[in-house]
Symmetry: C2
Subunit: 289 residues, 2 copies
Amino acid sequence: GEMLVPAFSQEEYRARTTRLRQQMAERGIDALLVLNEGNMNYLTGYEGFSDYVPQLVLVCQDEEDPWLILREMDTLCADASSYLPQSHVLSYPEKYIASSQLSAWQPIAGLVRERSPSGCIGVELSGKILGLKGHAALGKSLGTSEFIDADGMISSLKAIKSPAELTYMEQAGKIVDRAMQVGRLAISVGARECDVAATIAHALYAGTPEFPGGTSRSPLVTMPVGSPGAAPHLTWTDGFYKMGCQTNFELGAVRHRYCCALSRTVFLGEPTARSRHVHQACLDGFLAA
Amino acid sequence: GEMLVPAFSQEEYRARTTRLRQQMAERGIDALLVLNEGNMNYLTGYEGFSDYVPQLVLVCQDEEDPWLILREMDTLCADASSYLPQSHVLSYPEKYIASSQLSAWQPIAGLVRERSPSGCIGVELSGKILGLKGHAALGKSLGTSEFIDADGMISSLKAIKSPAELTYMEQAGKIVDRAMQVGRLAISVGARECDVAATIAHALYAGTPEFPGGTSRSPLVTMPVGSPGAAPHLTWTDGFYKMGCQTNFELGAVRHRYCCALSRTVFLGEPTARSRHVHQACLDGFLAA
């Protein structure tokens, strides 16, 4: 059937796992449970936006390709988005979803132990879906609560970017630059704040004529308007733009999960002496850093 | 200064906390730690999009208004968005953020114990920011790991909607209806998938002439296109629309965190007999349910 094209080649995905397995060997980890969906995507290409349910990538020390372990419904996403063959996509039944009686960590542990019967297990312990209750259920089902804390292992791999990754980041940079321009032009006295946000969102998703924009789990537009302008992460309100109004844009454009962020302040009318002073101080600090 | 207008009246926020305190009394909880940011917003109006750092609402059995406990930077967001007076917004210093040495749960525990020196404590244990390590740090700092599991208490409050809440939900319904219409109209052979997504995002953010659309932590547009159409939660690709192509839209419009979702399937050209059969079966099932 028709498939999504994974963002990277099979060789690139496999090279990531190879580097990870070297790190695992150094730390005595035979089987690694990767719980962060961004990290799962990094190793396999898997798109699912499903990290509200138990799912993971299992990396075994003695195998070239990792395993995806998902809820049954999401195996379709894996087939469509991951470079892995279907034989490396495992699943647990849907009856484990949203059950107060059953824990999905129990069948997951079974699938892990089939592939690593007695090995030493590393886990991304800060994985948000694991939590306190998940950790207890996983430990019980695996017959051990002695996990090696694998938080940060994949972050350290990601610090070195490949040419293909840099290309996506440059593309995201072009998209965010354009989105900031159209946002600035959309501001005028009497304009609705939401219409400025809508214009920016359109630009972030549409991208450029050469390449499309992508999507994200995180808000891509934060834009506190007016005097809460100093407050981080607020968005727009039900209000209209007025003269003397300040907007602090924090935008992110995305290409295949690679994000480029850009912050700018737009002031409608003549900024106060204090605003100019703060601007100059920020600029001086930035240039000194 | 200029402030955001909280989505609900002070009376409505306080009525929510009153109902919660009744539930707490029934379960013997003297102090409740609300960790889910959606629930924090429900009780106080707080907007911050900061649930990647430790933060919470503290509800004490013997006080009418809850306390917000935030990282220092976010107190500006609370002042701008919450109905609470500044005296009920507490914070811990920024040095606790992203530190490998310090845990923010330590100063948070101090602020909790000042207000509930010896009381029985309830915690939303599935709060994603707490996790395994946070739970250990919080228990150590509070001098107890005997928490009452408060998961689901606020969900049960939310099940009964006020007239003001229903109004926001109706408005979100009008926005999502319009967004689906413009999305459908944007599809044609040769159109880029990303441009259809951009058109929909614009409509979701702009809302209607009467009321603006809102923002969300979750993706508001999922639209698997082509044969991975059966896969849930996928978005658009780098591709173009072709004849015979199916799109499964799952859209959400938001008013003040109240979301209205709508799903529709759009087929470009003449659907196959099988597609028609699946459509009829879904419709029959829906009408029978």
